[in-house]
């Protein structure tokens, strides 16, 4: 409770981007860089929303297509398509670098923490676990994503199990 009281005075910055004509936002502190779309190397036998891996100055990072992740209609990648490279916190100490594909980046917004509304419950239709909340900006609804949860996809358990095996081989 105390924590909330402090937070409400704070302002956080969000990077907003478009995806199938909707506006989404991610905390700007998670964003490492934004780059144009370029062809990726497909990884065999992975979920379809993992488009593949990319060489980011020597480290190999996976690219997630959010349209597919959210089961939106697929669109062709164009010159305007961007990849937002995010630094994801995993567990307590580890961090992952991942890219998400978006139609276009729009803006950086200052949002007061207490103006973030809790995402309504859509029942089974929509999974709001990955939402940090909603924010109304110039009568547009912006969905703020919790990327730490979103990009540790459903397989989070599998990932842990698998990487544990890998570590002790």
């Amino acid at each position: 409770m105390k924590v909330d009281a402090v937070n409400s005075k704070q302002i956080e910055q969000f990077l907003t981007f478009e995806l199938a004509n909707e506006v989404y936002g991610v905390e700007i502190l998670k964003v490492q860089e934004i780059r144009g779309w370029e062809p990726v190397r497909v990884i065999p036998n992975t979920p379809s929303f993992i488009k593949g891996v990319l060489n980011l100055r020597g480290s190999v990072i996976p690219i997630v297509d959010l349209r597919e992740r959210f089961s939106l209609e697929h669109s062709e990648y164009t010159q305007k398509t961007v990849v937002i490279v995010l630094c994801i916190k995993h567990r307590r100490h580890e961090s992952f670098v991942m890219g998400i594909v978006a139609d276009a980046v729009s803006d950086v917004l200052d949002i007061k923490v207490d103006e973030i509304k809790k995402a309504p419950n859509f029942g089974t239709q929509l999974d709001t676990r990955y939402m940090r909340g909603m924010h109304v900006y110039k009568q547009n609804m912006i969905m703020l994503l919790d990327v730490d949860k979103l990009l540790n996809p459903d397989e989070v358990d599998d990932i842990e199990a698998i990487s544990d095996i890998g570590r002790f081989e």
């Binding site: 190397r41 036998n45 891996v53 480290s59 991942m98 698998i162």
Partner: protein, 699 residues
């Protein structure tokens, strides 16, 4: 003045372990009767700095323990005390004990007070008993009966973490708001607690907000519990282990702890040798039983997390290497600015200059790469230095006389190889000690010197490091090996085998010729694991053995795990890298060579052997136009898991050295892929995990 000391912990632990190693090797080299004061000084200094460090960091248990060692060593140093074999053994035991303590502290576990007590009393007996008549060879076996506790010891006892049983516990349980959301139910916890004894609960509800502000999913209540039970602290904590991260938990003993006199003659806890400790750490997470329920899974995961060694590691680098590196970087910067200058006002007559600049840049880059790789190189003595102790301990146990000769300890090898080669080497040396070298009487009868020799030798050959373990023991009896293999049904009776093939039988799973099992070796589960480990490092292992004269086991390993020779192959639009070491050959095949087993499994005939075909296109689900018929593509014959098999690819692209990048760093392990690399054009290519693929498709 508050400095976060924990940031220095890692360095402290590393220094301590280094100090312990110095003490160990110093103790082993002490020549009884003829004492080199400098050797004792070295040991003393190591002990002293461990004591100082642990005092600074507040690890009083360690500091006090080391203090006793130091007192003993101090007396030896001043010549007030004779250095006896027994004293050295006690000190060696203490080194083990200290190492154990430090490891527990590093992993944030409780120090095993029992084993500490055993060692400590052994030390004190040694300290008080002067040069006693007790000639028992090993600390472990010394019944440590302490009759005259020194002042240090009683003080120690007071401060030792209480693990003794208590009358009951006062528990303050203050869950965070999200406790309920994580699926935990306090009621269930209380039910479990009440199973341990009589439980009284007091609820604090002062934090509960007004009804209209109340979120039923948040836990605003906290509890003060009183548990009257003789359960130990760890038992109580275990009940809370699932909610540990979602609450504040305070445990305090109910009554004043009854001071029990700690039983000094504890069960003879054997002091594990460092090697054993390490294997335990590595294996433990694997032998955690497979989770049967969701609840169980959670606990087993936390177990494995606890057992996992701390991930962060550091490396000590020669300053010379860093100076070279800095020098090199300077050169690169100069070349780069020179090229920049040429580019600014470029005219065609500067082409020659440009080419020269580029050539220079290339050379500097290559040098730079080499010096960076050099930083990861460590002398193999990091591994070798542990073996004198191992040999000392085991030969004492077996009553054999053995000297260990180390050759080429300064041979440098990649840090990762150093870390991974330890366990296989320990295994091989134990084998040599146990099976290779004969008992002294047997040796004299065979006309050999009474003392056996094991030589551990490392040298570079080509792009590899070779490690040899040479013993002058009894060697391996090939006819016995063959007979045993036939008896176990591992080979046909009629099989005709070369000497080499017979010797390689010992790498078969479940093969052992030892007549007697011992706790050192002989169960026949080792050598196949050793070979698999070495192969997973990209190396191989050879045996030469002559009956009556001894055996030589040679391990060939790549110098580094960061670079690999690869063959790039094309499958549709995709490019994959096959490690060159696993490729036997690449062939074009004709329709005639093809066979189908039961209409499905495709095989082809290669020099009278039928090999299965793995279609890369299908196994990796590549959609773009790839060779659909085996005769349209190329078959790459590979060896993995001891089995041959053919990968069907579209075409071979070229051979190159590739730098291995981890997929796990940012994603996760992918079946059939051991890593990724970056090709000349900047795109990513996946490196195939050949054994994994063979296993994936054949089994």
């Amino acid at each position: 003045m508050s400095i976060d000391m924990s940031q220095f912990h890692q360095v402290f632990f590393e220094e301590c372990f280094e100090g312990l190693e110095a003490m160990e090797s110093g103790l082993l080299s002490l020549d009884i009767g003829d004492i080199d004061p400098e050797a004792i000084n070295t040991i003393f200094r190591a002990a002293h700095s461990i004591k100082g460090g642990s005092g600074t960091f507040g690890f009083t248990v360690v500091a006090e323990y080391t203090h006793i060692m130091e007192t003993l060593l101090d007396e030896m140093r001043d010549g007030r005390r004779q250095v006896t074999k027994q004293a050295v053994d006690v000190l060696l035991g203490s080194v083990d004990c200290l190492r154990e303590m430090l490891t527990s502290i590093q992993n944030e576990e409780d120090v095993n007070a029992e084993s500490v007590a055993v060692h400590q009393s052994a030390l004190e007996t040694e300290l008080n008993g002067e040069s006693s008549a007790n000639t028992q060879p090993n600390v472990v076996a010394t019944p440590a009966i302490n009759t005259a506790p020194s002042p240090i010891q009683s003080q120690e006892e007071d401060e030792e973490p209480e693990i003794e049983e208590e009358q009951g516990w006062k528990i303050s349980f203050c869950p965070y708001l999200n406790l309920l959301k994580t699926g935990n139910d306090p009621v269930r916890l209380f039910r479990e607690l009440s199973a341990l004894g009589q439980l009284t609960t007091n609820v604090n509800i002062q934090d509960v907000p007004d009804f209209n502000e109340l979120d039923p999913e948040e836990c605003n209540i906290s509890w003060d519990l009183v548990l009257v039970s003789d359960a130990s602290e760890s038992t109580v904590r275990e009940i809370f282990s699932w909610v540990e991260e979602d609450c504040e938990l305070e445990l305090s003993p109910l009554a004043k702890p009854k001071k029990k006199k700690k039983p000094k003659v504890a069960t003879p806890v054997s002091a594990p040798t460092p090697a054993v400790v390490e294997t335990k750490e590595v294996i433990a997470p694997v032998i955690v039983p497979p989770p049967t329920t969701v609840v169980k899974k959670a606990s087993s995961e936390s177990d494995s997390a606890k057992n996992a060694p701390k991930a962060s590691s550091s490396i000590r680098v020669d300053t010379d290497k860093i100076d070279t590196l800095i020098n090199m970087v300077g050169e690169v910067v100069i070349t780069q600015s020179m090229l920049g200058l040429i580019g600014e006002n470029f005219t065609m007559d500067k082409v020659g200059q440009l080419k020269r600049g580029l050539a220079q840049l290339e050379r500097h880059t290559r040098d730079l790469q080499q010096s960076v790789m050099n930083i990861r190189m460590l002398p193999i003595s990091f591994v070798f230095s542990r073996f004198p102790r191992l040999v000392h301990d085991i030969s004492t146990k077996l009553n054999k006389k053995i000297t260990l000769k180390l050759v080429g300890e300064n041979t440098e090898v990649d840090k990762a190889v150093v870390e991974l080669i330890n366990d296989p080497l320990v295994h091989l040396i134990r084998n040599s000690l146990d099976h290779g070298i004969e008992m002294p009487a047997e040796r004299i009868a065979a006309g050999k010197p009474e003392t056996g020799t094991i030589e551990l030798k490392a040298y570079h050959r080509g792009g590899h490091i070779v490690i040899e373990i040479i013993d002058d023991g009894r060697g391996m009896d090939k006819s016995k090996l063959l007979a045993k293999a036939i008896e176990k049904g591992l080979v046909e009776e009629s099989a005709i085998m070369t000497d080499k093939q017979i010797l390689e039988l010992i790498f078969m799973p479940g093969f052992s010729t030892a007549e007697q099992l011992s706790d050192i070796s002989g169960r026949g589960v080792g050598m196949d694991v050793v070979r698999r480990n070495i192969q997973s490092l990209g190396g191989n292992i050879d045996i030469i053995s002559e009956l009556g004269k001894g055996s030589t086991i040679a391990i060939h390993l790549p110098l580094t795990l960061a670079i690999l020779d690869g063959q790039s192959v094309a499958v549709g639009d995709e490019t994959y890298i096959v490690p060159l070491v696993s490729i036997i050959e690449s062939i074009n095949i004709t329709e005639k060579m093809l066979n189908k087993v039961a209409g499905k499994g495709e095989t082809f005939k290669l020099r009278n052997e039928y090999l299965p075909i793995i279609r890369m296109r299908e196994i990796f689900n590549v959609k773009t136009g790839a060779a659909t018929k085996p005769n349209e593509g190329v078959i790459v014959v590979v060896e993995g898991q001891g089995a041959l098999c053919g990968f069907l690819v579209d075409e071979l692209l070229g051979q190159q050295q590739v730098v291995i990048k981890s997929l796990e760093a940012n994603y996760r392990r992918v079946e059939g892929v051991s890593g990724a690399t970056i090709l000349g054009d900047g795109s990513v290519a996946l490196i195939l995990d050949v054994p994994g693929l063979v296993r994936l498709s054949v089994c």
